[in-house]
């Protein structure tokens, strides 16, 4: 294999997992659009719920990836986690284009206040929900603190390793 073909194809797996993840995420968004009708006043409930839940889950994923797969190049699996989950599933699930076009739709139907509320409400709450997801994950997946005097998980593992060698 020539160097140029290597550099061209070596990341093909990342694009593939982003495609599969995107198809999964977008399917879930489409299902939500079918299940959740717009509110009687025209508020785009489905996209609103999709975007905020996606933001919340992304906050959790950011913390978990940072904790369990901090180095993307440590293995083929960790390399693919971000393109699959973050770029693919959550990127495909949530949408910016529909959010903008729906805001225009509200303005077009003579509801400028609701259009503004939708734009700035989604923006503010979206950022808040990413932070909330991160806070929840940080609380739930805190590494166990070793009580003083006792052995930590790492110490135990090291001891087992040495015993195996001995």
């Amino acid at each position: 294999m020539t160097p140029s073909s290597t550099s061209r194809w070596q990341d093909a797996d990342l694009y593939l997992v982003a495609a599969v993840g995107g198809a999964l995420g977008a399917s879930a968004r489409y299902a939500m659009e079918l299940l959740v009708p717009p509110a009687r006043d025209g508020w785009p409930t489905a996209t609103f719920v999709v975007n905020l839940t996606g933001a919340f889950v992304l906050g959790i994923v950011i913390v978990l990836v940072g904790r369990f797969a901090p180095d993307p190049e440590s293995s083929m699996a960790t390399r693919r986690v971000r393109p699959f989950l973050v770029t693919g599933v959550l990127g495909g699930y949530t949408t910016f284009s529909t959010y903008m076009v729906e805001a225009h739709g509200l303005l077009d139907t003579g509801q400028p206040m609701m259009a503004a509320a939708y734009i700035f409400g989604s923006l503010f709450l979206g950022v808040l929900f990413v932070g909330l997801g991160m806070a929840v994950a940080n609380r739930s997946f805190r590494p166990p603190l070793a009580p003083s005097g006792s052995l930590s998980q790492a110490d135990l593992r090291r001891r087992v390793d040495t015993e195996d060698e001995g």
Partner: protein, 128 residues
């Protein structure tokens, strides 16, 4: 059938955003998430045009056209653009120095995105 069109469009849209993001990162154009910004704006413009065409077209609610909007709109544009990644970037920029960059990125994104969605809609309605 419509669901398949959505999934197929998204299978092109999401890796396209990935490619755009990497294009900027490879060229060391960093400090502001230009890749996601570009993908979001292009998606808002395309979906604006598509929506303008759809509401103007006499057969905009036909089965064939619904397939097109599922593929290009819900699937491709939906997955080319991202809300979750965008919100996390705003949070990240806000935590950095200077803090106002987060608000600037968020507000510029919705200002330009809204303008492109409206402009696209007008162009699409005129084209149809």
């Amino acid at each position: 059938m419509l669901w398949l069109a959505v999934a197929m469009g998204a299978a092109i849209g999401a890796p396209s955003r990935f490619a755009i993001e990497r294009w900027f990162i490879r060229r060391k154009i960093e400090g502001w998430p230009y890749g996601t910004f570009a993908a979001n704006q292009v998606g808002a413009l395309i979906l604006g045009v598509l929506t303008g065409v759809t509401v103007t077209l006499s057969n905009g609610d036909s089965e064939g056209w619904m397939l097109v909007t599922a593929l290009v709109g819900t699937g491709f544009c939906g997955a080319l653009t991202t809300f979750s990644g965008w919100a996390s970037q705003i949070l990240e920029l806000t935590r950095g120095i200077p803090h106002w960059r987060g608000a600037a990125y968020g507000l510029v994104s919705v200002a330009v995105g809204f303008a492109l969605a409206v402009g696209g809609f007008v162009v699409g309605a005129a084209l149809a």
